[in-house]
């Protein structure tokens, strides 16, 4: 043993100190979640809701929680960091298409779109994560090829085989164009083209029999937002939808399934409340109706997550430093179809809901 004295000393220094580091790392406790359902109507539907929560801790971990109680956690490391988790959500050929330099990517609900504009054709690909269905179509068109650095193309509304696209050209003059991709006929039809004022931005929201709805934001010279509002352009005139002013700053909306109304949510509310609120704007009557349901617990507005999918409103919010209340609301009959608590047995703070997906 004495022959190896130096080796033992240096080995011990390395071994003991590194083991103390590993011991410290192992002692760091993550969250230990469990789902406690308070009210549920359809147990099968719970499997389809996946809530992704991330921690801002020393040891980054991602938790995937299903409302039926299935929980998966994944610690991130240098190897997993090399692999793009976004790519894992798509079929290889769809992701390959999205990765092409001249393809414009956008997302709407569970659908991801990729649009490539070439000199004489437009390549349209879409993938629905909830149904896992992919759609490809090549459409003929006669539009200028956008400059990748100076333009943006995104899908903002889909009605069956009609896909509505906003194209922005940020050249010397800001121009916003609405295109209809008629997937059934394989045609591209320009619907509207507007020259915007400087310090102005436009986001198209929905298209229906009453016209085209968009949200317009005006900035001052310093780039600070000074006004934002929803507008309805029916081809003859443009009117500001004043009833939606309270929601315009947040910009959270969904066109209802029948496209006859707009559901807006996420407007600033009191810091602690039991009420989950949303509004519907009826195009026909030009009226806004407020809706609310009462949850079991008072929740914190800051950090709350709301989204609408398949006619249901999903609301996830902290009820204390570590636990979340999950509420699924049927927007048609204003009733809670599910409510539950995601409890952290280790009561860890600073967790954030990153994403909510609902599969069909």
């Amino acid at each position: 043993m004495r022959r190896y004295k130096e080796m033992i000393i240096v080995g011990s220094i390395a071994g003991v100190t590194l083991l103390s580091y590993f011991g410290y790392a192992a002692s760091i406790k993550g969250s230990d979640y469990e789902v406690e359902s308070i009210r549920k109507e359809n147990a099968d539907a719970l499997k389809k809701v996946n809530i992704e929560i991330e921690n801002g801790d020393i040891k980054p971990t991602r938790y995937n929680i299903q409302l039926d109680g299935q929980i998966h956690s994944e610690s991130q490391n240098y190897i997993t960091g090399l692999f793009n988790s976004y790519a894992a959500d798509f079929p290889a050929d769809f992701y390959r298409f999205l990765s092409k330099e001249d393809v414009f990517t956008s997302e709407m609900g569970s659908r991801t779109y990729g649009i490539e504009v070439k000199a004489s054709q437009l390549n349209y690909h879409s993938y629905d994560r909830s149904t896992q269905k992919q759609f490809k179509k090549t459409l003929s068109h006669r539009l200028t090829v956008p400059d990748r650095e100076m333009a943006d193309i995104r899908v903002f509304h889909q009605d069956g085989m009609n896909v509505y696209v906003q194209r922005d050209d940020h050249g010397t003059k800001e121009k916003s164009t609405v295109l209809l991709l008629n997937l059934a006929k394989g045609k591209v039809e320009p619907l509207q083209s507007e020259q915007l004022k400087t310090n102005q931005e436009r986001h198209y929201v929905a298209v229906n029999d009453y016209g085209i709805v968009y949200r317009e934001i005006a900035y001052d010279a310093e780039g600070v937002e000074k006004d934002s509002a929803y507008y309805l352009d029916n081809g003859k005139g443009i009117k500001r939808i004043k009833a939606l002013d309270a929601y315009a700053a947040e910009g959270n909306f969904n066109a209802a399934e029948n496209s006859q109304s707009l559901i807006a949510y996420g407007a600033s509310d009191s810091e602690k409340s039991k009420s989950i609120k949303w509004s519907t704007y009826d195009f026909k009557t030009n009226q806004v109706k407020q809706h609310k349901v009462e949850g079991q617990h008072a929740y914190r507005f800051n950090g709350s997550y709301t989204m609408i999918a398949q006619g249901k409103l999903y609301h996830i919010a902290n009820i204390n430093d570590s636990d979340f209340q999950v509420t699924v609301v049927d927007t048609k009959n204003e009733s809670i179809s599910y409510q539950g608590i995601i409890k952290d047995k280790n009561a860890k703070k600073n967790r954030l809901v990153q994403d909510v997906t609902v599969s069909e």
Binding site: M7, V10, A14, F22, F83, A92, R96
Partner: protein
């Protein structure tokens, strides 16, 4: 196995004092830097309060808030850089001292019975154990520094932060994930093996040919990487996750190649 342990011990013995001196120096400099940063912050605070007639809170505001642990360990990144530099220089020195030392130790090493790969493995193990020691001692220094920071600085002047603070260098080294530590050690192993290949190539060929061979081996790493990148960009034939898999496989194959070449040079080419 016995030969491997004997040789490894011999290598460690020969650098034992130097290594312990560097470790001690790094620890002393780092702990001193923490004390300096804390005292310097407090003296700046007092100066501001006296000269500008500010309250302590106002003076703290003027100094951009309380002193964070990341600020207090600001010099650690330079010490880590010195540690990395030392490791790379030591990977050269562990071979060259055998040739240029007074006793021409390399004669004895190469004449030893048994496989020469043991010589390579013992040197590689020595450098890797030193790297582990650096990482471990740095961790202990962070823990002691944290105590020092909490002890020297009044609580209201401290900023809440995680145990290693906000330093990017420390956050890269200590992610609290065991896999990451092994990734860092694997990277160190790759770099050390590259250095060993350069030394053994230089010792195996005449100057011009040695330089050309080294350039060829470096090109064998860089050119395929650039070519793969170009090919992937041009054709989009693989999705990014598949590309990462190809890159990692290539690095693994390259590592096997340089390891094999080190052994081959040591067995057949190295001249005394």
């Amino acid at each position: 196995m016995k030969k491997f342990f004997m040789l490894s011990n011999e290598e460690i013995k020969r650098s034992f004092k130097l290594y312990l001196s560097i470790l001690t120096m790094l620890v002393i400099v780092e702990l001193t830097s923490v004390v300096y940063q804390v005292l310097h912050y407090q003296s700046k605070l007092e100066d501001l309060m006296k000269k500008e007639r500010l309250t302590e809170m106002e003076a703290v505001d003027q100094l951009n808030g309380p002193l964070t642990f990341g600020d207090a360990t600001n010099y650690f990144k330079y010490m880590i850089a010195i540690g990395i530099m030392f490791t790379i220089l030591y990977a050269f020195q562990i071979w060259y001292r055998d040739w240029y030392g007074e006793s021409k130790y390399i004669y004895r090493l190469l004449m030893l019975p048994g496989k020469r790969i043991t010589i390579l493995l013992s040197k590689l193990t020595t450098v890797l154990v030193f790297v582990c020691g650096f990482m471990g001692i740095q961790w202990i220094t962070i823990l002691i520094s944290r105590r020092l920071y909490e002890w020297l600085l009044p609580e209201h002047l401290q900023a809440a932060s995680k145990i290693i603070g906000e330093s990017a260098a420390l956050n890269m080294l200590y992610t609290f994930n065991v896999i990451d530590t092994f990734v860092i050690l694997a990277l160190a192993l790759f770099v050390i093996t590259m250095v060993f290949l350069f030394v053994l190539t230089e010792r195996s060929y005449q100057k011009g040919k040695a330089l050309l061979t080294i350039a060829k081996d470096v090109a064998l790493l860089i050119v395929p990487f650039i070519a793969l990148r170009y090919l992937f960009d041009l054709t989009s034939m693989l999705i990014p996750n598949q590309q990462v898999f190809v890159y990692l496989s290539f690095i693994l194959i390259y590592f096997i190649y340089i390891s094999w070449k080190c052994v081959r040079l040591l067995n057949h080419k190295v001249s005394i």
